[in-house]
């Protein structure tokens, strides 16, 4: 009997293990985006600096498309420095980054870009067509497009620097 008593605390362990398993599996009901694997919808926009930017012109490069807005708090504020950092590291390595500003005001958007010192091209999605084509229903959302122009990753919510770099490296390693 005296040894058997320790079965009581030990009985706790299987329950904990089960819960731990539950913690590490994906949450229920998550739907992978149907856009992943498909060709990215083309767009042609005019940047805040006045220059044109189009997806077709970026074929052959790994493209990071980020949808943002100045009123998107706190997520866009958290990921903006991350994006700028990643851009600085990869701009000469065959990566393109395009920021697409949705449903925002021109001066608020410019202020946002200035605050975070964006040096990659950003354009306002006038008419909201690009957001619709990409199935964007919230900001921020970030898409990773490979060298062949296919959407490979979609991240809803603020991007994580390490994850983003990991994806970019992976796509850079692929043949054109």
């Amino acid at each position: 009997m005296s040894r058997l008593r320790w079965a009581i605390p030990l009985a706790v362990l299987p329950v904990i293990v089960l819960l731990a398993y539950g913690f590490w599996t994906d949450p229920r009901g998550e739907v992978k985006s149907p856009l992943v694997g498909k060709a990215a919808a083309p767009f042609t926009l005019s940047t805040f600096a006045g220059a044109p930017v189009s997806l077709d012109g970026l074929r052959g490069r790994v493209v990071v498309v980020n949808f943002w807005a100045s009123w998107c708090i706190p997520a866009c504020y958290e990921e903006a420095p991350v994006l700028q950092d990643v851009w600085r590291d990869y701009e000469h390595r065959g990566v393109a980054m395009v920021g697409i500003n949705v449903q925002d005001k021109d001066d608020a958007a410019r202020k946002f870009m200035e605050q975070f010192g964006f040096t990659f091209p950003n354009a306002m999605d006038v008419g909201g067509k690009v957001a619709v084509n990409y199935g964007v229903y919230g900001v921020p959302e970030t898409f990773l497009i490979d060298k062949k122009g296919r959407i490979r990753e979609r991240k809803v919510g603020a991007v994580d620097g390490e994850a983003l770099r990991g994806h970019v490296e992976r796509l850079l390693a692929e043949p054109s």
Binding site: I8, F23, P27, R28, Y77
Partner: protein, 653 residues
């Protein structure tokens, strides 16, 4: 890099210092407990006071930030904006994960203070251990506030405006629900701490139970209240006209309530007959563990639900802590196993001990069934790699028979004799109430009630009420024989035996809730239609006419309101205005329910779609019967609890 000191840094510093103090206090308390060092104990007490003061400071910093629109704190920016009304800016404090942890810690700190002032002299031996346990748990929550869920993260650069509060939380129910629920959860920490202290010292008698009796009742009450308020919120905000969906988050709060109720009853057996020592200790450990599990379930998002919150590393922290708590507590239990042999025995199946035991079995079975149903999807996926969900039908199928059984036991328990009930006493106590129950069910059947479950529930309710009336009347009559008038007899009885009759009133509250549940499930009606202006729809004798749409702007949202006139026959009943609220930070509009509360039935309207020119509106109409009885039952529960915790008149408190 310049050193920035603002609200986020101050708040964070307070949190870290509080954590350090809690750790120091816990270490000091346990050393004082083992080595009997009064100076260390005093230091631990001061640490406890300091911890609470610091947590209060954290709350004040956060509230101040909310009130002054200080969006440099991420939590403030994520949960309010410049349009959020004043009072919601304060209650946004517990609107999301990080803030709710602060609330928990603050309430626990408050309880710790009460323990310090109350038991420092009264229980000098148990007290240091109790303090250790409480400070250790406080330290854990402070650790969570420091590492995985810090409320004082800085947002840089400071955004011009915030995101705003989840509109579903802009409601009176959501102001009170978390507070009541957490008062209940943290309330069970104190009996748990005393149980651990009793085990550590080997004082496994009834002492720890007697001391914590009121704590248990009050914690149980707040947990019940929290569940009812949650049901109320679900009913009048979420727009589906229901109050309970067996959602994992709801189940997470229900399980500790079930084991807590079992505990509340089984300790009475230990007090009277010195039995069930091991069982009671196990129950309080399980209850406390379930409160932690409930928090873990809600806040880590491991089980998908309509209310799933964001995932993060917080799950790891909670799971590890839960594992530590359970392993430590059950190890203590195993260590003292030989001192936990009961001194009484179950003499007969027909006895109060047996009824209470059955009550416990049913409640624990219900808790296990709910637990199993909640984690079953996980299990299934682990073994068969397929995703499944377990819905309402399972939970109803298990719990309805168990609760009907509990209703029956609720009537039998308070009156049946201890040890062994004779046939004569059974007849004397139960014949009339049983007859009353049967007659009531028969009458209902005669007037057309066909639903078997409702008949059974109604019969049981009348039976239980009958036993209470019989008992009270007999006792009052006995008092009258000593010369009191009726009024003096009844009041004297209530005050003298406030524990017993407080319990009766609480049971009465449960009966009211049970009737409300039965009635609303069996008799509620629902329909949906699109109406042109002037058109009406009929349901349950009510006529609902669409009068028009209107648009307006509030401080933080825009609103489209539909006006509907409700009449019953020729009599005008009300003008209801369900609306759709458009919050800028929400992807879709949020429906705002309007309803008319009635004693027997509520008329409940939800605005669905509407035509842009205001000519048509799609409306969902419900006539919900007896839902108000749930809230009424809550009121009765409150009265019963107050009566039950009154200080004893017979001996000094």
């Amino acid at each position: 890099m310049t050193l920035l000191i603002g609200a986020p840094e101050i708040g964070y510093a307070l949190t870290v210092v509080a954590l350090a103090l809690a750790l120091w206090g816990g270490a000091a308390a346990v050393t004082a407990a083992r080595a009997g060092r009064p100076a260390l104990l005093a230091s631990a007490e001061r640490a406890a006071v300091g911890v609470w003061a610091l947590i209060t400071g954290c709350m004040l910093v956060l509230v101040h930030a909310f009130l002054t629109f200080d969006f440099s704190i991420r939590y403030v920016a994520a949960n309010t904006n410049r349009g959020t009304p004043f009072y919601y800016r304060i209650t946004a404090l517990w609107g999301a994960l990080e803030g709710s942890i602060i609330l928990w810690a603050w309430l626990l700190g408050l309880y710790t203070l009460i323990v310090v002032t109350r038991y420092r002299r009264r229980q000098p031996e148990l007290y240091p251990w109790v303090l250790t346990v409480l400070l250790a748990i406080l330290a854990f929550f402070l650790l969570v506030m420091t590492v995985p869920a810090p409320p004082f993260e800085r947002l840089s650069p400071v955004p011009p405006d915030g995101r705003g509060l989840n509109p579903l939380l802009e409601d009176s129910g959501m102001i009170t629900h978390p507070v009541a629920l957490y008062l209940g959860f943290t309330g069970f920490t104190v009996p748990f701490a005393f149980a651990m202290a009793a085990l550590a010292l080997g004082r496994t008698g009834e002492e720890w139970i007697t001391i914590t009796r009121r704590w248990t009742i009050i914690a149980w009450y707040f947990l019940s209240l929290g569940l009812l308020i949650g049901g109320w919120w679900s009913y009048h905000v979420l727009g589906w006209g229901g109050y309970w969906a067996w959602d994992p988050v709801e189940n997470a709060a229900f399980m500790p309530w079930l084991t807590g109720t079992a505990f509340l009853h089984s300790v009475m057996i230990q007090e009277r007959r010195r039995m069930l020592k091991l069982w009671n200790l196990t129950l309080i450990i399980l209850t406390f563990g379930l409160t932690l599990f409930g928090t873990f379930l809600t806040r880590s998002g491991i089980i998908g639900s309509v209310h799933a919150f964001t995932q993060g590393s917080i799950g790891v922290f909670f799971l590890t802590f839960l594992a530590l708590v359970l392993l430590t507590a059950f190890s203590l239990l195993a260590w003292r196993l030989d001192r936990l042999k009961g001194q009484g025995e179950l003499d007969s199946i027909v006895s109060r001990e047996s009824v209470f035991l059955l009550n416990n079995v049913f409640l624990v079975a219900a808790s296990f069934a709910v637990f199993f149903g909640t984690i079953f999807p996980l299990l299934y996926e682990a073994v068969w790699q397929e995703k499944v969900s377990v819905g309402g039908p399972y939970f109803n199928a298990i719990n309805i028979p168990l609760f009907l059984g509990l209703l029956f036991l609720m009537g039998v328990g308070p009156l049946i004799a201890w040890r062994r009930a004779s046939i004569e006493s059974l007849r004397r106590n139960f014949l009339k109430p049983v007859l009353a129950g049967v007659v009531a069910a028969a009458l209902l059947r005669m007037i057309g009630v066909g639903n078997a479950l409702v008949l059974l529930a109604a019969g049981l309710v009348v039976f239980v009420a009958g036993t209470m009336v019989l008992d009270f009347w007999r006792a009052a009559r006995a008092r009258r024989r000593t010369g009191d008038g009726w009024r003096a007899a009844t009041i004297g009885l209530l005050l003298r035996q406030n524990r017993r009759y407080g319990g009766f009133v609480v049971h009465l509250g449960i009966l009211v809730v049970a009737l409300g549940v039965a009635g609303s499930q069996a008799w509620s009606l629902q329909t949906e239609a699109t109406l042109a202006k002037g058109e009406a729809i009929e349901l349950g004798g009510y006529r609902v006419r669409f009068d028009g749409l209107d648009a307006s702007e509030e401080s933080n949202h825009a609103k489209v309101t539909g006006t509907f006139s409700v009449t019953h026959g020729a009599r005008p009943v009300d003008v209801l205005q369900p609306a759709k609220k458009f919050y800028p930070q929400e992807q879709t509009p949020i429906a705002y329910v309007d309803y008319r509360l009635g004693f027997l039935e509520d008329v409940y309207l939800v605005l669905g779609d509407f035509a842009r020119d205001g000519s048509h509106a799609t409306i969902k109409v419900q006539v919900n019967r007896m839902v108000s009885w749930l809230w009424l039952g809550g009121l009765v529960l409150t009265l019963g609890t107050v009566l039950a915790v009154l200080p004893d008149r017979r001996r000094p408190a």
